[in-house]
Amino acid sequence: MSIAIHNLTKRYGAQTAVDDLSCEVAEGSVYGLLGPNGAGKSTAFKCVLGLARPNAGSITIDGKPLAPATFEFLSFVPERPALYEWMTVRQHFELARRTYARFDTARAAELGAIFKLDSAKRVKRLSKGQHTAVALALAFSIRPRVMVLDEPASGLDPIFQRVVLDLIIDAAAGGAAILFSSHQIGQVERAADRIGILNNGKLVLEGDLDTLKGNQKVVEAVFDSEALAPNGLADDQRVARIVLSGRIMRVYVRRDAGGIVTALEALAPRSLSVFDLSLEDMFLGAVDDGSTGHGNGAA
């Protein structure tokens, strides 16, 4: 089962929370959605789950629009815990068992042990991290084919964060389509094979992570005198932005770093180097210049 979002737009009054968002999460793929707070990630998720009605665009799961039956196969873990405070952990598992046909009791017990959950405890007595742990344990217990996770590791200690990564990777290896958002770049770099960066409701960078890393580079040229950008370079489709600082010019390249190097060689710099960009670099660059996605990182 896959998720497909086409031209999703959602407005709240005068404010546009999500603007023409399109992306797909294939079976077995993990899509990491990044973005600053308020970028529209949670809103996008709400639209995917039928909690909010889009103003434009469509969302299909496994090629079909969302229906109650879809939730047999779909798990959602929201950013803030959505558990019944007055019920115990055991009652939550019982509720899930009665609600979902695919609930796996053995798996649930396993996950309860991994997350060190005390079944008899009322949820209101749990710490924030334990809230998240319960929600995650429930989500994975139903053997989902599609998952939507909003900041799945928030409040968890590093050990459990590893556990969550393992669960996501294991589910993806089993063919589940997973859409998740996270502020933890390290987590996204490991778990995701595709990423999207959302800023002010718009997708400013999107694509296969490995391909993006292969394409997105910084070409640094050091000159003998004040660096000046050649005419037209800033308008080049391959160039995201140019940063000039004294005798150093850094050209942030979307793809074809080699071609840009050739172009800069003509200026006879003293030295010319190409540097890789980590996902964090790409993220900071993408939300910093506020570009509207002047072409995507050649996915």
Binding site: L165, A173, R190, D193, G214
Partner: protein, 136 residues
Amino acid sequence: MAAIFSVDPRSGVPLYLQLIEQVKRAVALGVLAPGEQLPTVKALALELIVNPNTVARAYRELERDQVIETSPGRGSFIRSNGALGESRRAIDDVAASVLAEAVREARALGLGRDAIRALFEQGIERWFESGKGKLS
């Protein structure tokens, strides 16, 4: 098995390329023998804690480069012949680019040809001196 591979997801180098290089390096150095079985995509993804599609892509490329062969149902194995050659070649490429990069860097720091050659000799002396044992 995965302990012999080490990848850095934070690096700007695509993960699948890192993994490909790691496998070729292991083959070139004899750590992985021809005919030896590699972990499944899922197992390796879980061990390295990386996305399974990334591992799958690496395996596909390794197969295309004729370093490994995959038979459905049985798994992935280092090829009995040809793997060593290809890996050796790949590692030589890596070594060449590392050295070229070092020269470029030294040049950018202002050193001339002779200075660079002298430093190079020093380096060789240091690392190939008898009694120092194997490179790590």
